[in-house]
Amino acid sequence: MTQPPPRGACPVDLHYADPELRMLDLGRIVTRGRRLRRRRLEVNLAAGIMACAAAVSVALGARDVLTAAGPAAQARATRAPVPVDALIATSPPANGKLTLVSTWPRHWTTVAWATRGSSVCFATYRVPAAGTQADVECPAWGPADLPAGGASGLSPLLPGIEPVAAARGRDIVPEFGLVTLRAARVVVTFFGRSFSAKVVPVPLPGGRVVGLYLAWVALPAHITSYGSADVNRVIGYDASGHVVARHGTSQAKAGRNRP
């Protein structure tokens, strides 16, 4: 009979003997490290160029780059050290502006923009930065992914979901998508729970506009992994509560619906 471990001790032995001790490939580590070092230098250089460009545009009287937000949120996002500068420098917004999508949860900022090629990009990041808590996708959706306002009215689900933030004691992750601008609100059902998100218009080249939603969905406490199959459905509603876009299985019939 084995003695139970004392209270406060770990009941499993994390120092178990290693059955398959293998050495890491030092050559590959060093090569990869050198490549990372080079890339960091390039990013710093691009950020420096971007900063110079920003300074010049301010000197020339350019307006704030942010739209779709109140003055307080704009000021907060503007003074934050944006970790996506380098990316924006390489894939700049077609209209020269970022769209502020959200400043929730606390410390998190999400911006989106469309490139000249009509791809849509987003960046969500924590300010102040903590670890690698940022998610930047550019392009996140190509021109072919833009919802045409047809039967679906939604972009494909984005196959990436990070980072995790904490709110009200739960781990939450952002779920992004594009939706027809007829939708005012999108409800994402994740692990059977529904999360509502407002639709933010993102300007595209040529005067067009697409809707983008960001739903911070809560991870159930017991799960250790999840996949796109766990997003049960995504439904877009117009301002009157009518279903205008739908993705995934749903019992709800098109028409008036109040989730």
């Binding site: 009979m1 084995t2 139970p4 406060g8 001790a9 770990c10 009941p11 499993v12 032995d13 994390l14 120092h15 178990y16 003997a17 290693d18 059955p19 398959e20 001790l21 293998r22 050495m23 890491l24 490939d25 030092l26 590959r28 580590i29 060093v30 990869r32 490290g33 050198r34 990372l36 070092r37 960091r40 903590a130 670890g131 690698t132 196959p159 990436g160 979901i161 990070e162 980072p163 995790v164 904490a166 781990d171 992750v173 991870l219 406490a221 017991h222 799960i223 250790t224 992994s225 999840y226 996949g227 796109s228």
Partner: protein, 168 residues
């Protein structure tokens, strides 16, 4: 010459720390191959920032591994992961396989915890870090570390599979 010295210093660090870092990653991921990938990436990042992190490179690699694991499972679990081989189940009666059996039991138990619980537990009980150090490394409050440890230990103690293995 300075570069050579730097490489030598880094090599010594990798040789001394790799088994611990691979184990840390394995405790987080439950998968040996992915653990080696994460550890390798962590070391590569440390090398890239060596001048900045050389005073405490182990802390930097630990942070890289924890963060990269979070990034990895958030991204990759959206896709199926193909495996080249079908895993063999070790025979518990075979002495050379006993280590593998013990490892499988630990990893199975840890798989029932959340990512944060696994990270906190591994840092506390494998890396022997204090609550203050874990709090700093994970960027969470000390109280959260404490409560997460307590919750994770509670789950492990309540694990029926572990209890039956301990008494068998």
């Amino acid at each position: 010459m300075a570069r050579q010295a730097e490489l030598e210093e880094f090599t010594n660090f990798v040789v001394g720390a790799q088994s611990k870092m691979v184990r840390l990653a394995e405790l987080l991921t439950g998968d040996r191959d992915r653990a080696e990938d994460l550890a390798q990436e962590g070391f590569a990042r440390a090398f890239a920032a060596w001048r900045r992190v050389r005073t405490d490179p182990a802390a930097y690699v630990r942070r890289c591994i924890v963060n990269a694991n979070n990034d990895w499972w958030r991204r990759r679990t959206w896709r199926e992961r193909p495996h080249s081989t079908v895993p063999d189940r070790p025979d518990p009666a075979d002495p050379p396989e006993q280590a593998a059996v013990a490892r499988d039991a630990v990893l199975r138990a840890l798989a029932k915890l959340t990512a944060r619980e696994r990270a906190v537990l591994a840092l506390r009980f494998y890396m022997d870090l204090s609550e203050v150090q874990i709090s700093a490394e994970l960027g969470i409050a000390r109280g959260t570390v404490k409560s997460t440890v307590a919750r994770a230990l509670g789950k492990l103690r309540a694990d029926a599979g572990l209890r039956s293995e301990a008494t068998s």
